[in-house]
């Protein structure tokens, strides 16, 4: 008998009786007008810089002022207008490892923890947001939700082969609990929130 069948048979024999049905209760959620302030607080607490801008062009201007040379930036968001276009960026992993700044669109932002949902549709290769030194995420204010439960109600996790919530630059505290920002992934992160009417 295969291990699979043996395991399943044993589970069937040993599993406990089903508990009484449980109706998920309603959970409190932040008010829509509070989402922006809460999101900004959360991204700051996670070590990112949050910037509220009126439109995508403002993101490009902000980056130009700080990074000067567009060669330092790989941009995957149409409308930002600064940085190397991704189609011309070299996507071999050794060259990718040299990427300083990557600009990536987020699908949705979560106010309670500052996490931004990014799927493989937003990036040319899955590794880009992890390999760059400095990650720039762009999310629309209208795409903010309050809690993780609201987030999952608004995304379909298997719509693409890969998706991730990113909640700040990479970090570790594995040496004596001292927080160090910049473990294996990005050392710095910006989150641009594109303003919109609610």
């Amino acid at each position: 008998m295969s291990s699979r069948q043996a395991i399943l048979d044993r589970i069937k024999e040993n599993k406990p009786a089903a508990p009484a049905p449980w109706v998920k209760p309603p959970f409190q959620v932040p008010l829509p007008q509070d989402r922006l302030a809460l999101f900004q607080h959360s991204i700051g607490a996670a070590g990112s810089v949050g910037v509220l801008v009126p439109d995508l062009v403002s993101v490009g201007i902000y980056l130009q002022e700080r990074f000067m040379s567009p060669d330092r930036v790989v941009n995957t968001v149409a409308g930002v207008g600064f940085g190397r276009d991704v189609s011309t960026a070299i996507l071999e992993k050794e060259a990718l490892a040299q990427v300083e700044v990557a600009v990536v669109a987020g699908v949705l932002g979560v106010a309670e923890n500052g996490a931004v949902w990014v799927t493989e549709e937003q990036v040319p290769v899955r590794v880009l947001p992890f390999l760059c030194e400095h990650l720039v995420l762009v999310v629309r204010q209208q795409d903010l939700v309050g809690t993780m439960q609201e987030a999952y109600a608004n995304i379909k996790v298997d719509a693409t082969g890969y998706g991730t919530f990113i909640a700040g630059p990479s970090r570790t505290a594995d040496i004596e609990q001292s927080l160090v920002i910049g473990a294996h992934g990005p050392k710095r992160m910006h989150v641009f929130i594109i303003q919109s009417e609610l």
């Binding site: 089903a18 890969y162 998706g163």
Partner: protein
Amino acid sequence: MDKLTPKTIPVPDHPAAAAAFQADAERANWHDQALWFIREKRDVASKQTPDWELLRETASQIKEHVLAHLDELLIQFEEKARENGIQVHWAADGEEHNQIVLGILRQHGIRKLVKSKSMLTEECHLNDFLAAQGVEVVDTDLGERIVQLAQEPPSHIVLPSIHKRKEEVGELFHQHLGTEKGASDPAYLTEAARQHLREKFLSSDLAITGVNFAIAETGGLVVCTNEGNADLGVHLAKVHIACMGLEKIIPKAEDLGVFLRLLARSATGQPITTYSSHFHKPAPGQEMHLVLVDNGRSTHLGKKDFYKALKCIRCGACINTCPVYRRSGGHSYHHTISGPIGAILAPNLDRQKNADLPFASTLCGSCTHVCPVKIDIHNQLYLWRQVLAQDGQVPKAKAVSMQAMATVLANPKVYRLAGRSGRFMLRWLPGVAQNKRLNAWARQRDMPSPPKESFRDWYLKNRKTK
């Protein structure tokens, strides 16, 4: 069970190992404080989250549902995962798990790999097994890399190197990574590890990860890290192998909304881990495998008093809060998973070898109080003690003294006699009661000064005079 020699520190029993840990008082105090600091961060995070108790109850209910429907959920998950292009393997035990992983490696002719944190692979002793086959395994979580270089097992499931001081890490990195002698700044050492591991990520063709949650409804899996090491490893490799214990399954993607709100807050006090990555399909040109491991879980499921330990989501909150763990260190538990949850999981795997662990507790209940999925940890510790005592698996001295205690407490006359002789001894021969060799209880404590009479004597006398 597999026959490999695990890389464990030789420890005879928990009390002896705890005493050895306590011998270095400065380190023991630091360890205690470091873990309490994390416990306090967890408290703040939980109190800032509305509906925290409702979240715990919901998570608990979801997990109870999972355990009652585990076979159906696994079949549903397997079917969906296969549709997604994930190759699913089943392993009855650690040995079979290791052989499956080796088979995939051989198929691709791979001799080195990167691995992100996976307590399951620790449980199966995968690293030692692969090393014996000439495969280089590089653990990429910083804490795990530290203990790997030190040739030690992790001492904590979330904070693998919490027992190490920064000077010790500095010395290890000096020897292995060429950092400056005597350097111990965490930021400097972390940067050195980043550069060292970046090269490993870029040159590795295969990545192993653990699994935090597997979604039956969609056939995908979720891996949570703060460092980004799981993602870097997987996305730069041609082959991804994810290894998970059977109990990591959850019914629906929406359940993640509950678990991800609880996991990091309970673990470190963060509102969420930096990365919560959802893998559903291999990237173009990539191959993805999932190994489902039983290793005693399906048997454990049948134990009425103990199966609820399988609800665990491995946050480590019970470990951080445990007054015994904080003062005895993770290695004193001589099991992959230390602390209270380890002490109730370990006897399911090997009752004899782990008979000391359910006694490594004060039964204060703090573990149960912080558990995000409401496992009755301290009750199970208490129940294990009874099972082990009935099995004759407690030390002779403890069994005999418990038997004597039972006789005394069951018989009022004997009880009164014992009380009188106790008071007599404490008053007239205090040296005997305080003798730290004769009385183990008095080793860290002073005996109380004896009352003149028992409450019963006092009561009888005073009632008469009224």
